[in-house]
């Protein structure tokens, strides 16, 4: 919907003319919009009809909501339908230099770590407005989400995914560090970026970056969490990097290859970039792979160590039907945990105990079924992101801690949840079959 206010001189005239037969109808809605309480008067002043403000409440009394909630609701369909994309478009035609970034892109999407890293790359590229650099992203996986422009990428070298255009290459799929490093070396030869930035993330950039640095003969900075301009340094930049397993901060000149931690810089948010595709003239070289990826190993979520698990379904005193609980954990794909009482009573093995006296867990989602939340247990789940409590007692400590608490019979709720997940899977399956 357009934001331009279209004036209708005839309707305005009728609104001014109280004797006009259509006057009343027009007064109520002078512009034909759904905002009858306010309208711009003929002299440009805003006119208000206080009687038209508000709404009739449930018990017949007129209510005026000044919190703005109502207004926001009425506006949604109105003039300000879509927030306008105010981001500046940036297209660097002839960059002075390149900052190469190799994002991890887990699942084909830029991770927040990748975005932070791109933000850091932009700091390097945009430092001198006279001689702007361009951020080159080297991507080995088939992107699922084309948000490269928003993340601050000027040039995009896409090597991954066996695309029909022949640009992609299945050699880079899975764990193929040797092939990837060889490709990065080809990039180095052809494009010679001034900086190489990689995320210092286990099994992603951390591995690849170190291989690259060694191949290039550069001493990289690792675990970098901040960069600053530094005129004294050869590269005009210095960085602060964590050393000694996070125990020290080392301030040193920024080398050509750097691996940075998450939140090393603010991600790009105010500009959109061209993300122009580039290609290597020669294509990545063939290498003899000495490491062969035989694929993922099916890991039974129940067997995952508690400390590593990301989704835990934990059972306590309130679980009565253990068969149903184990079935629920299996179908949800959750790792099983337990409170001390459940372990002591022999329903669960000792290595499944969560809490200060058991295992400290770091799950993304922790579902506590029938656990009242002894202090030792709550200590053990301190670093869980989302806690869901299913409990009969609405006043227990676990409910107070939980981000979402459902008060009711654990067995019934679990059964309903299992049914829901099964339905969801079936639908997904049908969608896929249909597609």
């Amino acid at each position: 919907m357009s934001d331009i206010v279209r004036r209708d001189p005839r309707r305005e005239w009728i609104a001014r003319n109280r004797l006009h037969p259509e006057h009343l109808a027009v007064r109520v809605d002078p512009h034909g919009t759904a905002s009858p309480s306010e309208w711009p008067g003929p002299n440009g002043l805003t006119r208000r009809n206080p009687r038209a403000v508000g709404f009739i409440g449930p018990n017949g009394i007129k209510r005026i909501d000044r919190s703005g909630a109502q207004q926001a609701a009425t506006q949604s369909g109105g003039r300000q339908a879509q927030p306008k994309d105010t981001r500046r478009r940036v297209d660097i035609d002839a960059p002075d230099f390149l900052v190469a970034v190799v994002p991890d892109m887990p699942g084909g999407r830029l991770s927040s770590h990748d975005r932070d890293l791109l933000g850091m790359a932009r700091q390097l590229a945009d430092a001198d407005p006279e001689r702007p650099g361009a951020v080159l992203a080297v991507v080995f996986v088939e992107p699922r989400e084309a948000a490269f422009d928003e993340a601050g990428i000027d040039r995009l070298l896409s090597l991954g995914g066996a695309g029909e255009d022949g640009g992609g290459d299945a050699r880079f799929d899975g764990y193929a560090p040797e092939a990837r490093v060889a490709a990065l070396q080809a990039v180095e030869r052809e494009l010679a970026p001034r900086h190489w930035l990689l995320p210092d993330s286990a099994l992603g950039g951390a591995d690849l970056g170190r291989r690259l640095a060694v191949r290039l003969g550069e001493r990289p900075a690792t675990q970098v969490w901040q960069i600053e301009a530094d005129a004294v340094s050869e590269t005009d930049w210095r960085c602060i990097a964590r050393g000694a397993a996070g125990g020290t901060d080392m301030t040193r000149p920024l080398p050509r290859v750097a691996m940075a931690l998450a939140e090393c810089a603010e991600p790009v948010s105010e500009t959109r970039h061209a993300a122009r595709p580039v290609e290597l003239t020669q294509g990545p070289p063939q290498v003899l792979a000495r490491i062969e990826d035989l694929g993922a190993v099916a890991v039974d979520p129940a067997g995952v160590a508690l400390g590593e698990a990301e989704f835990i379904l934990s059972a306590g005193n309130g679980v009565k039907d253990w068969e149903a609980y184990h079935r629920a954990a299996r179908i949800l794909g959750a790792t099983e945990g337990a409170s001390r009482v459940a372990v002591d009573d022999g329903f669960m093995p000792r290595d499944r105990q969560v809490g200060a006296t058991g295992t400290w867990v770091t799950a993304r989602v922790y579902v506590a079924v029938g656990i009242s939340g002894a202090i030792q247990h709550l200590q053990g789940i301190q670093s869980c992101e989302k806690v869901v409590a299913i409990n009969l007692d609405g006043g227990c400590d676990m409910v107070k801690r939980a981000d979402l608490a459902v008060i009711g019979d654990a067995g019934e709720i679990l059964a309903a949840l299992v049914a829901m997940v099964e339905r969801y899977r079936e639908q997904q399956q049908e969608n896929r079959d249909a597609a």
């Binding site: 926001a72 927030p83 286990a202 099994l203 640095a213 060694v214 191949r215 001493r219 990289p220 900075a221 964590r242 050393g243 000694a244 397993a245 996070g246 125990g247 020290t248 901060d249 080392m250 301030t251 603010e266 948010s269 000495r290 490491i291 990826d293 035989l294 694929g295 993922a296 190993v297 890991v299 995952v304 590593e308 698990a309 990301e310 989704f311 949800l332 794909g333 959750a334 790792t335 989602v365 992101e385 806690v387 869901v388 609405g394 939980a402 981000d403 979402l404 608490a405 459902v406 008060i407 019979d409 709720i413 679990l414 309903a416 949840l417 829901m420 997940v421 899977r425 997904q428 399956q429």
Partner: protein
């Protein structure tokens, strides 16, 4: 471990483990480095493996007790490459490994002291021309000059790799925990000194090193169009100040709310 099945020891696997002096994160006391100790554990659980430990670095009272931590895992001795403080140990280590020619070199991903960049195994691999595998969770089998290993992915997932030997593999905290270090074997164990010339690491001494600062917590920056939105964002209740409580809902409603949360968090597999 189900490796008690008597397999004829056709070829003994020669494994070298590179160990360093660790540092406790709270008290900074010298100890066996956690990842290195896990590497030793992995080597010790390999069937028919001849395990040799190598440490390159200083040997003083402090590091002695830490290194004895490895001996306490049941090893008779540690090969000791004495190097001055702040030396680059890569050339010396590479020379020793070339002479010893193990089939597999295991080590922790990164040291707990010094630069701790985790670059050493890569440099060694480059010097020796061997492949390197990271994040080892288990060695499944070694045969015909190839090792089949499991690599640990985040959240308990595993990936199977086959790597040509000789190779270097690093171990992170996803590998099985190291066995207890016992006082008796630690006291009895010895050091086999070996001398190699050290190379001074000049760059490191030029850097400014200080105890780690706490990193500033990232603030949530709200880019809002209107003053009202900005106010709302600023005045929003801090997270965790009490969650949503569904009381008196039917099991289906409760399950739906939970399912929604699980889906938002992306922990429900699609198939």
């Amino acid at each position: 471990m189900p490796h008690d099945v008597a397999t004829p020891a056709e070829t003994e696997l020669n494994v070298a483990v590179l160990v360093s002096v660790g540092r406790h994160p709270l008290t900074a006391r010298a100890r066996r480095a956690d990842q290195d100790a896990r590497a030793v554990e992995m080597a010790l659980t390999l069937p028919d493996a001849d395990v040799r430990l190598i440490h390159a670095g200083r040997h003083d009272d402090d590091s002695d007790s830490a290194l004895r931590g490895y001996l306490g895992m049941g090893l008779a001795s540690i090969g000791l490459l004495e190097q001055p403080s702040g030396a680059d140990v890569v050339p010396a280590l590479a020379a020793v490994l070339r002479d010893a020619s193990p089939q597999l070199v295991l080590t922790g991903a990164r040291a707990e002291t010094g630069e701790g960049s985790g670059l050493l195994p890569y440099l060694l691999a480059d010097w020796l021309g061997w492949p390197i595998v990271t994040g080892l969770a288990a060695v499944e089998s070694v045969e015909h000059g190839m090792a089949t290993v499991l690599q640990a992915l985040p959240r308990g997932q595993r990936r199977r790799l086959r790597v040509r030997l000789p190779a270097i593999a690093t171990v992170e905290s996803s590998a099985p925990a190291a066995r207890q270090s016992a006082f008796g074997p630690a006291r009895r164990g010895g050091f086999d000194p070996e001398t190699r010339d050290g190379v001074r690491d000049d760059a490191l001494s030029e850097w400014h090193v200080q105890p780690a600062r706490k990193r500033p917590k990232r603030l949530k920056i709200v880019k809002a169009a209107s003053a009202r939105d900005r106010f709302k964002a600023a005045a929003a209740k801090a997270q965790g100040g009490g969650g949503q409580v569904l009381e008196g809902a039917t099991p289906e409603q409760g399950a739906e709310a939970i399912f929604k949360l699980l889906e938002e968090e992306g922990v429900v597999r699609r198939s």
